[in-house]
């Protein structure tokens, strides 16, 4: 199944390289990987999405823990989470097709962020499958280029597994 892991790591040079090298070495195939800062100075947060069965999921976590700079790992696959992906899409848009495109943008709760005579740049933030849907309906107009950030995810509810780390 498709799994989402969240790892908090020390923000030091080369840490991302260690994580990626681990996945490569063990032959795990990363679907998406995002890295960013957190509210805690010196701590970065990584979200990794990949296909893995129950056994490999356990081992991925154990392997990640072996990295000295990894502080905390969570498998969010079975948890109630909020997860978001951000996409920027540049679509061919003439005066004729623009209204149709804007209609679709409305339906998908995306936004137009740039318009020129022959193209538009759209932004959509949401669940990955919703973005897939938008891409599908825009394809006939001609997608010039596209970029997605990959998924970031967070557990719903009041508590954070990182709390204990903050306390320390």
């Amino acid at each position: 199944m498709l799994r989402t892991f969240v790892a908090h790591v020390e923000d030091r040079p080369g840490v991302l390289n260690r994580v990626v090298s681990l996945f490569r070495r063990r032959g795990y195939n990363i679907g998406s990987l995002t890295v960013g800062t957190t509210d805690k100075p010196g701590v970065s947060r990584l979200t990794v999405v990949m296909e893995a069965d129950e056994d490999s999921a356990r081992r991925i976590q154990a392997d990640l823990y072996k990295l000295v700079n990894v502080l905390y790992v969570e498998d969010l696959s079975h948890a109630a989470t909020v997860s978001r992906d951000l996409a920027l899409l540049k679509v061919r848009a003439s005066a004729d097709t623009r209204p149709q495109i804007l209609q679709l943008v409305e339906v998908f709760r995306a936004r137009a962020v740039d318009v020129t005579t022959d193209a538009m740049v759209l932004e959509m933030c949401g669940a990955s499958d919703k973005i897939d849907g938008l891409i599908d309906v825009l394809r006939p107009f001609g997608i010039v280029e596209m970029v997605r950030t990959g998924i970031v995810a967070m557990r719903r509810g009041g508590e954070s597994q990182l709390e204990m780390l903050k306390a320390s």
Binding site: E10, G14, S21, R58, Y65, V68, L71
Partner: protein, 578 residues
């Protein structure tokens, strides 16, 4: 708590200070431009430096030192080629969880990333073969980083740690004070507390098992758990099979010792494992050389896995009761809970399956004048009363040693198991000698093939310069024997690139000013071994053994553990007193 006065000195001084405070008294290394400031200050510190002949040897020496002592071994090299020459030694230490710290010089920080002379991204190169590594570009970080390096190397599942230190850091001044506080690494938690529930599950399995077998691995030796294992075995009556690296963790001559399992394990050992209803794996990791084909491995057995590294659990073999923790602590926790038993009929059954195999054994054969490697190993064991520290290389001789030299003591065998690194033995033995300097207490024998010996034979020169004593038994069969054996068995005897012409090893040793002799028949073994034991300095014996002999039994790669190629019937003889 050790506190140093805040004095201003160079990074190079900090390096040696930290090493001293970590208890290091010897380092193995080779100088060069980027590490020269460190070498220059070394002269002021009471640390012995062993000048190697190739940096690979330095890493193996640090590894041999670590395995012989249980302490952290240290090697030193310069940047670029010096550092890359360490790579094989680091990978060897990684796969056998050996605690070493590798210090490398690096070009000055302002040159990093410019392809400067002798610049290699050694932290990048060694990332997958170190437990952790560091690049130090700020002298204030040098001390804490080195302390961390030793802590990481020796704690949890031990392993190699590399610290790459730029030349300007070695030269820069600092007044860093070692406050002696314990290293704090928020993401590194090498200690595990064993929970009651998993212990209870294991105890229930152990008490109800009828045909249990213990698989004892390297972890027993590393965790210093031999005495606890013995107590546990004597209480539960469970027979012990050992992995190659586990040999000596449980006495080979103990009535409940079965011997080595796996690719070259004796038939009765592998059969016992295959027929077991419970396997208790202690500090081992179900390597493919141990399990044979995975889906036919011990099909009837429930499995308990005691292991310090959680990422090993369920990696190759699915287990019923994992216990993550230090194997000695776990054995101590299990001890009072398990029932006292004898399990006589199971042990008798295994014993029964032995009888026949022993008759086919080479050491049971009447002499016919030929010299077999097995004879050399058997006689060496007999003559040294099983008390030598044997350091083996990789190949047929390594397996014969494992089969015929009965190790009764932990840290009595040092060998490259996980990586199978040819060229390991001689340098590792030199390292071991520095860990065990007493010639009376610790006799050291190198057992090495004619091929592997030539990979690091340059270190004979190190033996001569340092004036140390190890005895080197070259098992000279004129072939890369283990590969030749595979060609014989699996490639219809096409000996592609395995016949090997070697120099006259007696003369080679002589050229180094070392003592040497040649042995060509079994009658000469005793005399030659006695000669080496009493001759001062490193001695080399060139044993000219049967050239096309094979290691039996053998489980072909990918076959089930019970699917062994047995000793050919042509060497089945009537039993003699073995």
């Amino acid at each position: 708590m050790t506190t140093t006065r805040p004095v201003t000195r160079s990074g190079a001084c900090v390096l040696w200070e930290v090493l001293l405070s970590e208890g290091v008294d010897v380092v193995f290394g080779y100088p060069g431009g980027a590490i020269m400031p460190a070498y220059d200050t070394l002269l002021r510190y009471p640390i012995r430096h062993v000048l190697v002949r190739h940096e690979q040897g330095a890493a193996h020496m640090a590894d041999g030192y670590a395995r012989a002592s249980g302490k952290v071994g240290v090697c030193v090299a310069t940047s670029g080629p010096g550092a890359t020459n360490l790579v094989t030694g680091i990978a060897t230490a990684m796969l056998d969880s050996s605690p070493i710290v590798c210090i490398t010089g690096q070009v000055s920080s302002k040159f990093i990333g410019t392809d400067a002379f002798q610049e290699t991204d050694i932290t990048g190169v060694t990332l997958p073969i170190t437990k952790h590594n560091y690049l130090v570009t700020d002298v204030e970080e040098l001390g804490p980083t080195l302390r961390e390096a030793f802590y990481v190397a020796r704690s949890g599942r031990p392993g190699p740690v590399l610290v790459d230190i730029t030349k300007d850091v070695q030269q820069a001044l600092t007044s860093w004070v070692d406050d002696g506080a314990p290293v704090v690494l928020p993401g590194y938690r090498p200690k595990y507390t064993v929970d009651d529930e998993s212990l209870a599950r294991a105890v229930a399995l152990i008490d109800s098992a009828e045909r249990p077998v213990i698989l004892a691995g390297h972890g027993i030796v590393k965790a210093e758990a031999s005495a606890d294992l013995r107590a546990f075995v004597e209480r539960t009556g469970i027979p012990v099979a050992s992995t190659l690296l586990g040999l000596g963790g449980f006495p080979a001559t103990h009535p409940l010792s079965l011997g080595m399992l796996g690719m070259h394990g004796e038939a009765w050992v592998n059969h016992a494992v295959q027929e077991a209803d419970l396997l208790i794996a202690l500090g081992m990791r179900f390597d493919d050389r141990v399990t044979g084909k995975l889906d036919t491995f011990a099909p009837r057995a429930r499995k308990i896995h005691v292991e310090i590294d959680p990422s090993e659990i369920n990696k190759n073999v699915r287990v019923d009761a994992p216990i993550v923790g230090d194997v000695r602590e776990v054995l101590r926790a299990l001890m009072p809970r398990v029932q006292q038993k004898t399990r006589g009929s199971w042990v008798a059954k295994i014993e029964e399956s032995k009888g026949h195999s022993a008759v086919r054994d080479i050491v049971s054969m009447p002499h016919d004048g030929r010299l077999f490697a097995a004879h050399v190993m058997h006689d060496l064991w007999r003559l040294t009363e099983g008390r030598a520290l044997v350091v083996t290389d990789v190949g047929q001789h390594q397996m014969w040693e494992a089969q015929y030299y009965k190790h009764d003591h932990p840290r009595g065998l040092i060998t490259s198991g996980g990586l199978g690194t040819m060229g390991f033995a001689l340098p590792a033995a030199i390292g071991a000698r520095f860990a065990r300097p007493s010639l009376e207490k610790d006799e050291i024998w190198v057992v090495v093939g004619d091929g592997g010996f030539q990979m690091t034979a340059c270190e004979l020169s190190t033996c001569a310069q340092e004036g140390i004593k190890v005895n080197v038994a070259i098992i000279n069969n004129g072939y890369l024997g283990m590969v030749r054996q595979w060609q014989e068995f699996f490639y219809e005897g096409r000996y592609s690139a395995t016949p090997m012409k070697s120099p006259d090893f007696v003369k080679l040793a002589d050229a180094h000013g070392l003592s040497s002799r040649r042995v060509t028949s079994r009658e000469e073994i005793e005399d030659a071994v006695a000669w080496a034991r009493k001759t001062p300095g490193t001695c080399v014996i060139d044993f000219r053994v049967e050239q096309e002999d094979a290691v039996y039994p053998m489980v072909p790669a990918g076959a089930a553990l019970h699917d062994m190629i047995r000793r050919p019937s042509s060497i089945v003889e009537t039993a003699e007193d073995p």
